[in-house]
């Protein structure tokens, strides 16, 4: 798999240094550092409550870590907000689905095109040529994504009415629509059956292969993680206990202990 990739793995693109996050007295993440290489698929694994989603939420700017720094493409990001991160070219999906429930599938994906649409509300209100051309152009892009994800038959359905697995797919579509070169997927396969998981893996690998998108994904299914990721970070109790290629991590004694539930003293 690593032999003839269209986009060979490169230099670190995201560098998380010594971040700590606390909610009141509860420590969610303690002094954690890791980096993500360009074009790689990096998995974050760990038991429930280990702080995986919190880690993504820190990178995304939803939570503000009390300590540490995050650098993207060599630039240390100050005062991170979800908006800034979006503009920098990082997109994501959410653990518990954060779709726009009353909007159609296509509209949800179109929102992903937000940063590619610059008509202001006056241009939209008066349907000036610029607004119309832009709308059409982005609609075509979104139709492509809909076709790629094989959800064309439901594109006009409000997402709130779709089953969970399809909603996960729509959320991936929305993230893809941003054309971000760095994608964070928070449990993209949760609640899916084997068939659906396989399909999702295919999409993820295809995106990574064809577009060179760097991916960070949180996943519980070890089989999936070992199959598709280039590197794996293991979190336990808010600390990183291992970071490396799947085979290496699998053999790590600390990781085995964490998963088998050896008591911490």
């Amino acid at each position: 798999m690593t032999i003839d990739r269209n986009f060979p793995i490169g230099e670190p693109v995201l560098e998380v240094k010594n971040i700590s996050l606390r909610f009141g007295g509860v420590k969610a993440i303690t002094d954690s550092s890791f980096s993500v290489l360009k074009h790689e698929i990096k998995a974050i694994i760990g038991p429930n409550g280990a702080g995986k989603s919190s880690l993504l939420n820190c990178i995304n700017g939803i939570y503000q870590p009390q300590e540490g720094s995050i650098a993207f493409k060599g630039e240390v990001l100050e005062k991170i907000t979800p908006n800034l991160i979006a503009q920098k070219g990082i997109s994501r999906t959410f653990q518990n689905l954060a779709l726009f429930k009353r909007m159609s599938v296509l509209d949800n994906i179109l929102v992903g095109r937000r940063l590619h649409m610059n008509s202001n509300f006056m241009q939209v209100a008066f349907q000036l040529p610029k607004a119309r051309a832009e709308e059409k152009e982005n609609l075509i892009k979104c139709e492509e994504i809909v076709d790629f994800l094989e959800i064309a038959d439901i594109k006009n359905t409000p997402v709130g009415k779709l089953p969970y697995g399809l909603q996960k797919k729509v959320e991936l579509g929305r993230a893809l629509a941003t054309e971000a070169d760095f994608l964070m997927l928070d449990e993209p396969m949760a609640g899916m059956n084997v068939e659906e998981k396989r399909e999702m893996c295919r999409f993820i690998l295809k995106v990574n292969d064809e577009l060179g998108t760097t991916m960070v994904l949180i996943e519980h299914d070890m089989g999936v993680v070992m199959d598709i990721s280039d590197n794996v970070v293991v979190l336990d109790y808010g600390k990183i206990i291992a970071d490396g290629p799947p085979d290496e991590v699998r053999a790590n004694q600390e990781v085995i202990d964490a998963y088998l539930g050896v008591s911490h003293d």
């Binding site: 995304n60 726009f100 909007m103 296509l106 929102v111 937000r114 349907q127 059409k136 929305r174």
Partner: protein, 346 residues
């Protein structure tokens, strides 16, 4: 909800059924009604207030139904628009009516931005309380500073006549046509925004603000924009309401009861649809008329007028509860369901 069509059968993004509906509405409102309806009562007591309040309801719809911000102060923005229009016509010589109207909307929009600021920090009932501040403050300010009322002490100021290109528009039919033009234009603009990227941004913020932000939507800009546009629509509606329906300017006409009325129009009409604003406004306006005529014709005035207005309140309240339980998307959705059932049966 709204159908996206990417084929070539559309004109400027409108589907064929959009255009037919639009054409029917235009023929009905510009040709059929003026030809058929001859009594002034229908214009001055039904059609004129309906269009004015529907316009305000579109504003409320934008901020609440689309952007999901629970605001309760539409009447305050209407008051700002009405008194801005009065003062512009009074103090700026030869200002064209439509220019004054547009500027009034902008004045209201400025208030909208100011009182929309709390929406950046809070939501739900917290925001509702913050917007109540605008309701009470604006009406108080107009009432207490004589300049706004041109130092009139009688408390009731007669609105100026509407003059367009030297021609006064004073009969009910003429005023109806003026309003109709304004409402038509603003409705088209609202539909365009609602269906375009502007509306998508609003709805994204409404449905899941954190995800919207992660897609690059600025919550600050989007919320304030919705508040500004809402207030603009309310401001224009307030000016028209004062100049054509009330024919006078009194701050008390824009009290919190009117804000509640507009809120109800949007909730009952259907949150998140422009047509809901029209349906809701029609219902809130026509139901009391119906109730009164039942009171007069069936019971021959045996029922006290205050009882009738109390019953009206109870019915509105019950309907809100019933809709919240059974069809939170209101009458517009009900109507859609009925249409769908009929077309399926064919």
């Amino acid at each position: 909800m709204e159908q996206k069509v990417s084929n070539n059968n559309s004109f400027m993004g409108y589907t064929r059924s959009d255009l037919t509906n639009f054409l029917i509405a235009m023929i009905l409102s510009f040709v059929a009604i003026p030809l058929v309806v001859q009594t002034d009562y229908w214009y001055s007591s039904i059609l004129i207030p309906w269009l004015c309040l529907a316009l305000a309801a579109i504003g409320q719809q934008i901020v609440m139904g689309y952007a999901g911000q629970l605001a309760l102060g539409a009447a305050g923005f209407m008051a700002a628009g009405a008194f801005a229009c009065f003062n512009l016509i009074l103090r700026v010589p030869d200002i064209p009516f439509f220019v004054a109207l547009g500027l009034s909307g902008l004045v209201a929009a400025a208030f909208g931005i100011l009182f929309g600021l709390p929406s950046l920090r809070v939501r739900g009932i917290y925001l509702m309380v913050a917007t109540l501040a605008s309701q009470f403050f604006i009406v108080w300010m107009i009432d207490k500073f004589g300049w706004f009322k041109n130092y009139d002490t009688s408390g009731i100021i007669t609105a100026q006549d509407i003059v367009i290109l030297g021609k006064p528009f004073t009969s009910p039919l003429e005023m109806y046509l003026v309003i109709l033009v304004v409402v038509t234009v603003l409705t088209i603009l609202a539909v365009n925004m609602a269906r375009g990227s502007t509306g998508r941004n609003w709805m994204a913020v409404r449905d899941m603000d954190i995800a919207a932000e992660s897609m690059g939507i600025s919550l600050l800009k989007t919320k304030l924009q919705a508040f500004a546009i809402c207030a603009f629509y309310c401001g224009v509606a307030g000016a028209l309401f004062a100049f054509t329906y009330l024919k006078s300017l009194e701050p008390v006409a824009f009290d919190i009861k009117l804000s509640f009325k507009i809120l109800f129009m949007v909730i009952l009409g259907g949150l998140g649809t422009i047509s809901g604003a029209f349906i809701g406004a029609a219902f809130i306006l026509l139901f009391p008329v119906l109730l009164n005529s039942v009171g007069n014709n069936v019971f021959h005035g045996a029922i006290d007028a205050t009882i009738i207005s109390s019953i009206e309140q109870v019915v509105f309240g019950v309907l809100i509860i019933v809709f919240m339980i059974y069809e939170p998307l209101g009458m517009a959705k009900l109507w859609g369901n009925i249409k769908q059932r009929f077309s399926r049966n064919k």
